[in-house]
Amino acid sequence: MKVQGKVWKFGDNIDTDLIIPARYLNISDGSELANYCFADIRPDFAKGVSSGDILVAGRNFGCGSSREHAPLAIKEAGISVIIAKSFARIFYRNAFNIGLPLLESEEAAKDISEGEQVIVDLASGECKSIDIGKTFSAHPIPDFMRKLIKAGGLVNYIRKGERKA
C-alpha cells in the first residue's frame, strides 16, 4: 500500500502532552480531538493538514502519557503515516492498534524537510521524496504490526478471529 502527502516536520522527544494537551482529554471523539492536535506547538497544524499528509519526526516520538488520544488526534487529522528516528513504546502500540502506521528511519527523518511531497510504500518501508528525488529505506513494519494495519486495527483483528476473544 502506498501513501503520498506533504510533510510536517517535528523534532526529538515530542511528548503526548504536546500532541494533545491534557486540557482536551475530557474529549473522547477522534474528529473533535483532531482540532486540537499540536495546539500549543503548531497551532497551524490542525487547520493546515490535508488527508494523506505525512508526519516526520526525530527520536522518541510520542513519549510520556499513555493517552491514545494522541495517535487518534493525529490519525483523525488526516496523517497517513509517521516516519521517525524512534518511537516511545506505548505510542508505538497505540498507533498500530488504531490502524495508524509508523516507520522507523534515521536517514529519512534526518533528510526529509518540512513541506516536501513524499511517497511511502508501507509494505517495503521505502520512502521517496519527490522534491529532492531521494529514496530512503525504513525498517520494514514487523509482521504482527502489518497484520494489525491490514485488519484496520486491533478491534478488527480480534473480531476477525485472528486472535481469540
Binding site: N13, D15, D17, L18, P21, A22, R23, L25, N26, I27, S28, D40, I41, R59, N60, C63, G64, S65, S66, R67, E68, H69, P71, L72, S86, A88, R89, I90, R93, N94, N97, I98, F144, G153, L154, V155, I158, R159, R163, K164, A165
Partner: protein, 419 residues
C-alpha cells in the same frame, strides 16, 4: 536457562518454561486498570469487539482520579460512562468519590496488586507496581479494551537494564533523587522498550513508598516496566493489605542483562529536573536563583504518607513565602486520614497550604492548580514537559517533597539546608 525476574513473570503468564528478550508472547493478565481519561475509549473498544461480558469482573479496576471531582460537564460525562459500564458488568473494583484516590496509590494500598503478578493499565505510570516485584506496564485504551474482553495481551519480552545502587545516602536524599539521577544518566529514551531493574544495598533499605517512586518513573526513561525484587520489606507491606499469597520471584544469578550500571550514591545531592525534560537533571545546589509561583506536593510519584511526613517536617512552624501557592494532595483517603491523625494536615494548613482531595491534581495540567503564562512551579510529580501543568509558556521543575517544601518557604528553588 537463567532468567531475570521480569522474564520469569512473563514466562509464567505466557504458560511457557522460558522466554528471551525479543520473543513475542501472549500473556494472561492478573489485573487490568483504567481511569476516567482512558476508560471511555477502552469501553468503546470493548463494545466494538462485541464480547458480551468482561473476562473477569474481579480482575478489572476502574478509578476516577484524573479530572475528579468532575471538573466540567465533559469530564462528568466520562466518569458517568465508566460508572454505568462498571455497574453493567458488576466490576467489583470501581472507585469514585470518597473511596477513590490516585490509581497507582490505591491499588497497592488496597492489596489489589501482588508480587509475581502481571498487571496491565491504561496509564503510563502503571509501571509503579514493579516496586512490589510485579510486572506492570502501561498501554493505551485499545489494548486495555481488548484485555477487558479477552484477559490476555501480546507483549514483546524486554531486555533488562539493571541499576545497582551502593553506598550511603546523604540527608534529604530520597528514592525520587535516585530515579531523577538515573533518568539524567540514561536519558529519556535510555531504557526504551527495556525493563529497568533497581537493585543494590541502597534499594534493600528503601521503604516501599520510595520504591514506588522509583518504579513509577521508569517510563520517564522509556522503560516498559520498572522492577525491584521482593524482600522482607515488600512482604511486610503486602501482608498488612492482602490475605492472598505472594509469589516471590527473583532473577537468577547468571541471568543476562542488556547492561548493568553501578551507581555509588554517597555524593548524590537532592536532584532537580529543570524544564522541559525529566532528564534535565541537576543537583539542587546548582540550579541557581529560580523564583516560584507554585509548589505542588502529591501525585502517583510522591503522594505517599511518607512524602507528606517529609514535607511536614520541613513546613511545621514555618510559613509559605508571600505570593506563592502551595498545593498539597494526599494520594488516597487512607493517607489523608492518617495525615490528619498525625497532625500533618494541621501543620500544612498552619503553613498556608491548600489541601486538595485525593486525585491527580495539577500534575497533568487539567485541574486544580493550573499555571498561567510565564508562571513557574516546583512539583513532586513525574513530568516537566512544555505546558504540562498549564500554559505552554509556564515552567515545571521536579524534585522530592523535602526540596519542594523548602522551596515553598524560600519562594525560590532551594534545599532544606538553606532554612
Amino acid at each position: 536457562m537463567p532468567m531475570t525476574i521480569t522474564e520469569k513473570i512473563l514466562a509464567l503468564h505466557a504458560g511457557v518454561e522460558k522466554v528471551s528478550p525479543g520473543d513475542l508472547i501472549e500473556v494472561k493478565v492478573d489485573m487490568a486498570l483504567a481511569n476516567d481519561v482512558t476508560a471511555p475509549l477502552a469501553i468503546e473498544t470493548f463494545r466494538k469487539i462485541g464480547t458480551k461480558r468482561v473476562f473477569d469482573n474481579e480482575k478489572i479496576v476502574l478509578v476516577a482520579d484524573h479530572f475528579v471531582p468532575n471538573k466540567d460537564i465533559q469530564s462528568a460525562g466520562q466518569v458517568k460512562l465508566m460508572r454505568v459500564f462498571a455497574g453493567q458488568h458488576e466490576i467489583k473494583n470501581y472507585f469514585e468519590g470518597g473511596e477513590s484516590g490516585i490509581e497507582h496509590v490505591i491499588l497497592p494500598e488496597k492489596g489489589l496488586v501482588l508480587p509475581g503478578q502481571l498487571i496491565i493499565g491504561a496509564d503510563s505510570h502503571t509501571c509503579t507496581y514493579g516496586a512490589l516485584g510485579t510486572f506492570s506496564s502501561g498501554v493505551g485504551s485499545t489494548d486495555l479494551g481488548a484485555v477487558m474482553a479477552t484477559g490476555e495481551i501480546w507483549l514483546k519480552v524486554p531486555p533488562t537494564i539493571r541499576m545497582e545502587y551502593e553506598g550511603s545516602l546523604l540527608p534529604n536524599v530520597r528514592g525520587k533523587d535516585l530515579i531523577l539521577y538515573t533518568i539524567g544518566l540514561l536519558g529519556v529514551e535510555g531504557a526504551l522498550y527495556c525493563a529497568l531493574e533497581f537493585a543494590g544495598e541502597v534499594i534493600k533499605k528503601l521503604p516501599m513508598s520510595q520504591r514506588f517512586t522509583m518504579a513509577n518513573m521508569a517510563v520517564e526513561a522509556g522503560g516498559k516496566n520498572g522492577i525491584i525484587e521482593p524482600d522482607e520489606i515488600t512482604l511486610a507491606y503486602v501482608a498488612e493489605r492482602s490475605s492472598s499469597k505472594s509469589l516471590v520471584l527473583k532473577g537468577d544469578i547468571d541471568a543476562k542483562y542488556k547492561k548493568v550500571v553501578k551507581i555509588i550514591v554517597d555524593k548524590i545531592e537532592p536532584q532537580v529536573a529543570v524544564p522541559h525534560s525529566p532528564a534535565n537533571v541537576h543537583p539542587v545546589s546548582e540550579v541557581g536563583n529560580v523564583p516560584l509561583d507554585q509548589v505542588f506536593i502529591g501525585s502517583c510519584t510522591n503522594g505517599w504518607l511518607e512524602d507528606l511526613r517529609d514535607a511536614a517536617g520541613i513546613l511545621k512552624g514555618r510559613r509559605v513565602a508571600r505570593g506563592l501557592r502551595l498545593i498539597i494532595i494526599p494520594g488516597s483517603p487512607w493517607i489523608y486520614k492518617k495525615a490528619i491523625q498525625e497532625g500533618i494536615i494541621e501543620a500544612f494548613l498552619d503553613t498556608g497550604a491548600v489541601i486538595g482531595p485525593p486525585c491527580c491534581g495539577p500534575c497533568l495540567g487539567g485541574h486544580m492548580g493550573i499555571l498561567a503564562e510565564g508562571e513557574r512551579a516546583i512539583s513532586t510529580t513525574n513530568r516537566n514537559f512544555m505546558g504540562r501543568m498549564g500554559h505552554p509558556k509556564s515552567e515545571v521543575y521536579l524534585s522530592n517533597p523535602l526540596v519542594a517544601a523548602a522551596s515553598a518557604v524560600l519562594g525560590r528553588i532551594g534545599s532544606p539546608d538553606e532554612l
